[in-house]
């Protein structure tokens, strides 16, 4: 049995050894799973918002898409990963309260900025399961880079 590690809101973790990285209850939050195919190192973040320029005080920067992806990629490169062998899968960004546009925009922007940020590092996004109106839980297996996604009232699938 692989060790399971929770990635909570505002966190990211890089797993050097085979691990299940899990994010439970992604609504508008977004998790990017980055997998380096040559070193088998995997990393997951759980971001809440896309725009770190809104911060009025010193806050946990890993709540933000841009900052978390940046830190995650940097740490992976430090461990010997290369962006040419890194691929990403992106999950979340749902609209939990239909018709609450201000909240729904948070999810949409989260997805957009996470993908932009990954692309800016030349990391290919090979799968995504984003948007919609239902939350998601995900389990990222860093032995092979596979991700299992589940939603309430829906089928569990592997991506």
């Amino acid at each position: 049995m692989l060790e399971k590690v929770n990635i909570y809101m505002g966190e990211f973790k890089v797993a050097k050894n085979p691990t299940i990285l899990q994010a439970i209850g992604l609504g508008s939050c977004v998790s990017a799973c980055i997998f380096d195919r040559s070193t088998k190192i995997g990393a997951m973040c759980h971001i809440m918002h896309s725009d770190s320029s809104l911060a009025k005080e010193k806050i946990n920067l890993y709540r933000f898409a841009d900052q978390a992806i940046e830190a995650m990629v940097k740490e992976m490169l430090k461990l010997g990963c290369h962006t040419r062998s890194m691929v990403a899968k992106v999950f979340g960004g749902a609209s939990m309260f239909q018709n609450v546009l201000s909240l729904n925009k948070i999810g949409e922007d989260n997805v957009k900025v996470v993908i932009e940020k990954l692309k800016s590092h030349d990391i290919k996004v090979i799968a995504k399961d984003v948007g919609g109106t239902v939350g998601r839980s995900i389990w990222f297996d860093t032995t092979d880079g596979s991700v299992v996604v589940s939603q309430i009232n829906g089928p569990t699938r592997e991506m």
């Binding site: 992604l26 508008s28 939050c29 005080e57 010193k58 309260f97 309430i152």
Partner: protein, 205 residues
């Protein structure tokens, strides 16, 4: 860029206001349901956003929640959360039914009405009254999903601005049955200075 801070005195004053709001809410709900509602002593705190879901339950637990935006001189949000079973129990109470197994449209609208219009307004009235702040509520919205999923966006809209949330929280009970319903009021960090000023004025008055 100093962090938001509250003195013990300010927390006490906000706690009193939350207490009045909670008592009003339980009074209205008791009248509506003909059952004795009681509300816990409110918890007022500056609390890290990331840790707020854990004060309610497990991230994956299924909840029904009602969300409302607070507008006016001070901005914020109210979210009322019921675990799955308790949402059904609550809806049954409101509609004078028994042992429903799913939340139909009637149940959803009854819950939205009770949580949104009654509970939320009780708190907002207490705040406007004691701090002399003009507040308006907005249309309540209901969602059923995992706890973390419904809370994520609600928290994110403010978590992008400050490290800690200025939060009021209550749990309530019905008769002897403990209903793990939770009501949160979160304030927009942009409104923090106004709230502090209003507290100062309220103390003078």
């Amino acid at each position: 860029m100093t962090k938001m801070k509250l003195s013990e005195e300010e927390i006490r004053i906000l706690g009193n206001i939350a207490d009045i709001g909670a008592k009003n809410a339980s009074k209205y709900l008791s009248v509506m349901t003909k059952k004795k509602f009681s509300v816990s002593i409110p918890w007022v705190s500056l609390y890290p956003y990331e840790e707020i879901p854990q004060t309610v339950g497990k991230p994956s637990s299924i909840v029904t929640s009602v969300y409302m935006k607070v507008e006016g001189e001070v901005k914020g949000a109210i979210i009322v959360i019921f675990p799955e079973k308790e949402a059904l129990f609550m809806a049954d109470l409101l509609l004078d039914k028994k042992s429903s197994t799913e939340l139909d449209d009637m149940a959803k609208s009854a819950l939205t009405e009770a949580a949104g219009n009654i509970l939320a307004n009780a708190y907002l009235n207490a705040i406007s009254d004691k701090l002399k702040i003009k507040l308006t509520d907005s249309i309540p919205h209901l969602a059923t999903d995992m706890l973390n999923a419904v809370l994520g966006g609600v928290l994110a809209q403010f978590a992008c601005k400050s490290e800690n949330a200025l939060i009021f929280k209550n749990n309530f009970k019905i008769g002897k049955k403990k209903i793990n319903g939770h009501a949160f009021i979160l304030f927009d960090p942009d409104s923090f200075d106004i709230i502090k000023n209003k507290i100062k004025n309220a103390r003078k008055g």
